[in-house]
Point group: C2
């Protein structure tokens, strides 16, 4: 509460934008807001400060911090002689991208790949030899989808991409 009005306003808008962004990706908007608060904070903050700042119960903050910490977006910080847990944001957004977002994406792609290949095997076995009919179309589509998936997966691991991010 030490800032004059325009910066407070700007800060408030950034927090709100964090919430909207989170929501637009289908995650709890509180996670986005919480991360922005920590990312902009000059020092680690405790649960009560976070709850106060966002006007939300401590229970919500407790859940939210654990989730964000699980993604590597924030981390717990101990202060000697203080029993409270403090949290600070991972200050390098690229770290979060790598460890949180891209990792999760890669896992999804891998899982989809296994599923595709299993389905392709099943359909190949069912339509042995025959290259016509509905199931041939379906197989074609499946193979096409799998090829694209593999391409995207490869792109994510490409050194150039890895280095740029």
């Amino acid at each position: 509460m030490n800032s004059p009005s325009p910066t407070r306003q700007a800060r408030h808008e950034l927090i709100d934008a964090g919430g909207r962004t989170a929501a637009s990706f289908g995650v709890n908007k509180l996670l986005g807001q919480l991360f922005v608060v920590l990312y902009l904070a000059p020092r680690p903050l405790c649960l009560d400060e976070l709850a106060e700042e966002l006007g939300v119960s401590k229970a919500s903050i407790s859940l939210a911090t654990r989730q964000l910490a699980g993604w590597g977006a924030i981390r717990r910080v101990w202060r000697k002689g203080d029993r409270r847990d403090f949290y600070e944001a991972e200050e390098d957004p690229r770290q979060i991208l790598r460890n949180g977002v891209l990792d999760a994406l890669q896992r999804k792609l891998d899982s989809a790949g296994r599923q595709f290949q299993e389905a392709i095997r099943t359909f190949e076995a069912a339509a042995k030899g025959r290259t016509d009919g509905d199931e041939a179309i379906l197989l074609d589509r499946l193979r096409h989808a799998e090829a694209t998936r593999a391409k995207v997966s490869g792109l994510l691991q490409h050194p150039l991409v890895r280095r740029m991010i």
Copy 2:
């Protein structure tokens, strides 16, 4: 209903996986299921067939098809002499990536960029000259976040990436 059991099972699992994937990205799982049904179908399907296939009301299908069509993932198809609307999937997943996913991502990044830059201007104006204190840290973080955002945005437009996808 013409397939023997293992392929039916495989097809069912693909539809389910589509639903789970959609849900994991925070969108209505019906959209994912619906897309898979259409993507694997040997011919365009009408609303009633889709509702029947997924065990869901026609109203839901009506909303879902419109949303998917809006993303360019499926398209409406007319059959002469038939009053029903038929739908088919965009058969090239890369097209969907480009027009649906990457486009939306780019728009989000652009919007975030504008917001960052506006906030940076506000804080610069508030802390003119001074390079110490809490607001200096905050400005530093903001600039770092914006730099990363710009890098990701550039990566999405990089010809190499564009070509590979």
